[in-house]
Symmetry: C2
Subunit: 237 residues, 2 copies
C-alpha cells in the first residue's frame, strides 16, 4: 500500500459538496496563485478545496546566545526570518493557523489555482458528522507529524533527508513509470528548512542520492523515488 | 499565560471519572514503573491516568548511503536503533501508537506510578462527547507538534535546543521561585535525540546556556527556565 495519497484524495469528506456549495454562497472561498500568502487568523478553520497549501513556521526566540558554533559571536545570533517548511495540506484536508509568540505559522498556496474555504468552528454545529471528519483528519495529520519527528531526530542529515522525502512522497506522491514522485516542486532551501540543514548541503546530498539511484527526477525536476521493491518506506498498516 | 500545563491539568475530561471507573471494572488499567515499556498496539487508544508517558520513535530506513559526512563509509551507515524522543503525554491526555514500517513508535512510563487506561475506539460509541474531547486533544497535540517542527527547522543546534526546551516547559512546566521547571528529568541523550544532535553537544550547549543565565537547575537536576519577564517564549493567545 504505497503511496497513500490517491486513496486519501479519492475519499473526500462525505458532506464535501454541501460545504463547498455553502462556501460559494457565503463568499467563504478564494483562489490563490502560486506562493501567494493565504491570509489566515487563529481560531478559524481552513479547508483546501483544490491545489496544495504549504505551511511554514518561524521561531523568533529573541535570545542572543553567544556561541562559537556557526557564526561570529558579534552578530545577532538568532536568524530572525528562518522559515521552516512544516508540510503540505492537500485537497479535502483541513488546516488551522495557531498564533503563539514567538512562533509564527503561515500558509501559502503551493501551486497555482489553489482554492481555500474558511469557516468558524461554530459553522460546523450544523454538520456534526463533518466536524468529526475534520477532527479525524487532524488526528491523522498528528500521526504523520510523529513519523516526521521520528526522522528529524536522526543525527545524520542524509538520514533526515531520506526519511523526510519518503514521508512526503508517501503522503502526496503520484505514480509514474519511474516510481513515485512528488507532484509539485520543492526547493532545496525549503527541504533544508524542514530538516534543519542548508540549501547547499541539501543540494550536495541529493546529488549523492541521485548518483546512487536512491532518488530520481521526474519530468521537470520533480523529486522521484524509483519504484523498485526495496523502497525506503513500505507501508504496513 | 505561561506555562499552560496547570490549566490543562486542571481541566480533565468531563467524563473522566466515569471512564476511570469503567477501566477499573474492565481491567483496562495498568500501572508502570519508571522507564517500563508500555505494551501498545496500533488501533487502540490510550489515556494517561497518572504520571507521564514518553513517546519515542525510530526510523530504520534500511538504505545504505555512502557518505563522508559523519562516519566512515565502510560501516553500515543507518543507525539502526536511533530512538528519537517525540514528547510527553501528561495526565488526562490520550495517545496512540501507529505502526508504519520502517518507523516504530513506542511508549514508556517516564516516571514511577504512571497509570495508563486503554480502550478500543468503538468503546467510545457510548461516550460521543468524550470521543470528541479525545479528538480535540489530538488536535491540540498536533498544533504543539507544528510549533515543535518550527523550532527543529532552525539550522543552529542551540536555537533548536532553546526552542525545544521552552516548548516542553511551557506545556508541562511547573512554577518554582526560580522560574518554570520541567517536573521530571530528561537526559541530554534524550534531548539530543529530539533535536537531531548528540548527548555531547547538548551537554556542552546546556552548560553555555546555564552560564548565560538562560537556563537554570531546579532541585535535583531538573531543567528550569528562570522566571524573569523576558522569557524566550511568552504566550500570546
Amino acid at each position: 500500500m504505497y503511496p497513500t495519497s490517491s486513496a486519501n484524495q479519492a475519499r473526500p469528506f462525505l458532506t464535501w459538496q454541501r460545504i463547498s456549495d455553502w462556501a460559494q454562497e457565503h463568499y467563504r472561498c478564494r483562489t490563490f496563485v502560486k506562493d501567494e500568502r493565504i491570509p489566515s487568523r487563529p481560531g478559524l478553520l481552513y479547508l483546501v478545496q483544490r491545489g496544495a497549501v504549504r505551511l511554514t513556521g518561524s521561531a523568533q526566540l529573541g535570545v542572543n546566545v553567544s556561541t562559537d558554533e556557526e557564526e561570529s559571536p558579534s552578530t545577532p545570533l538568532m536568524a530572525q526570518d528562518e522559515e521552516a517548511f512544516l508540510g503540505f495540506v492537500g485537497p479535502g484536508q483541513p488546516f488551522e493557523i495557531i498564533a503563539q509568540s514567538p512562533f509564527s505559522l503561515q500558509s501559502f498556496a503551493h501551486v497555482d489555482q489553489t482554492a481555500v474555504i474558511w469557516l468558524y468552528w461554530h459553522d460546523l454545529d450544523n454538520w456534526p458528522h463533518f466536524r468529526r471528519e475534520v477532527l479525524e483528519a487532524f488526528r491523522h495529520q498528528h500521526q504523520r507529524k510523529l513519523l516526521w519527528l521520528s526522522t528529524l531526530g536522526q543525527r545524520r542529515t542524509i538520514d533526515r533527508l531520506i526519511g523526510f522525502l519518503t514521508l512526503l512522497i508517501e503522503e502526496f506522491g503520484e505514480t509514474s513509470p519511474e516510481g513515485y514522485y512528488l507532484p509539485f516542486p520543492l526547493t532545496h532551501a525549503q527541504i533544508g528548512s524542514a530538516i534543519g540543514s542548508t540549501r547547499v548541503t541539501v543540494t550536495r546530498l541529493m546529488g549523492k542520492l541521485r548518483q546512487q539511484g536512491i532518488l530520481a527526477t521526474h519530468g521537470d525536476g520533480l523529486i522521484c523515488l524509483p519504484g523498485h521493491s526495496d523502497l525506503p518506506l513500505s507501508k504496513e498498516a
